[in-house]
Symmetry: C2
Subunit: 166 residues, 2 copies
Amino acid sequence: MYNHMQQWKMTMTSTHPDLPIKADDMFCFAVYAASHVINRAYAPLLKPLGLTYPQYITLTCLWETDGLGVGDLSRRLKMESSTLTPLLKRLERLGHIERRRGRDDERQVFVFLTRSGKALRKKAPEVTACMIEATRLDIGTLQDLVGTLRRLTDNLGNDQPSTASR
Amino acid sequence: MYNHMQQWKMTMTSTHPDLPIKADDMFCFAVYAASHVINRAYAPLLKPLGLTYPQYITLTCLWETDGLGVGDLSRRLKMESSTLTPLLKRLERLGHIERRRGRDDERQVFVFLTRSGKALRKKAPEVTACMIEATRLDIGTLQDLVGTLRRLTDNLGNDQPSTASR
DNA sequence: CATTATTAAGTCGTGCACGATTTATTATCT
DNA sequence: AGATAATAAATCGTGCACGACTTAATAATG
């Protein structure tokens, strides 16, 4: 893997001499910087809810499908279980979720929203609307962005695609 | 700030009923997931160099402009000084950079590449090429992506734009 | 059926990332 | 000039994120 490099240099570097050498010309840097700025923009919106952005996005997954296993969440959020476990414990301590071991397979742990966790959902549309507004980009541009990023994510992470169907 | 929300809901939610409610339909989630996957894709490429991705990207800035101050780096990388200081100390301990206090203004700290830090630059094109190859996206798509993300970053982080000119 | 392999979470250590605060230096204002 | 404000890094505490490893439970194999 990652060894189509030679031919790439042949084909691309010849036509575009020094295309991506500067930091801010690189797409990786662009994604990196964007994720920081997004994180910082979320903070004041989520602070009143007592949530961090990773916690919020985890809840978002559960609002879509309650009772997911840790592994499911891990695949959807592109996070390792070692990241997720303590995060989920914090969400549990906050009273928003409940973790239950599987009945037939005791290795698995399933995550369920509590009443309080479900209640937070009402705040979500407002948060999302604020974020979209703050980008000052039109919906079409954002949809293209999401499309490209999803392809990038699926190709780069050579495990399962981010979404099975749809 | 963030209070154009009401009118947004009027204009957008009416035309696109439930546009961004699911986790993976949201651009924030897309950026978030992409940054994780990118980070993980870089790891094996940077491991031989003994660098983490944030360290690598910091060096990239210095390859472009040596002798930047911590503040300059902070603005370019969209990182706080509290993040940057320990990162720079690690890079210094690795022998790739040198930190010197300003002569006329002793508050500022300037960062200079050492011989070893400059030498690492030779490996950069290979790393970049591998990453671009791994995305399996064509250059045009990546350029559009960078363009959109830069606008997003500039609009969302309401301080200075990511790049002065160009 | 017992052994081995695989899987699912969790633990641990390192590094990133932030906000709030601190310290030290420079700028500003009577 | 001397008090006050502003600025630049650094420090501290919390939480995220990973890889490497461990533990426990299920699956596969002889």
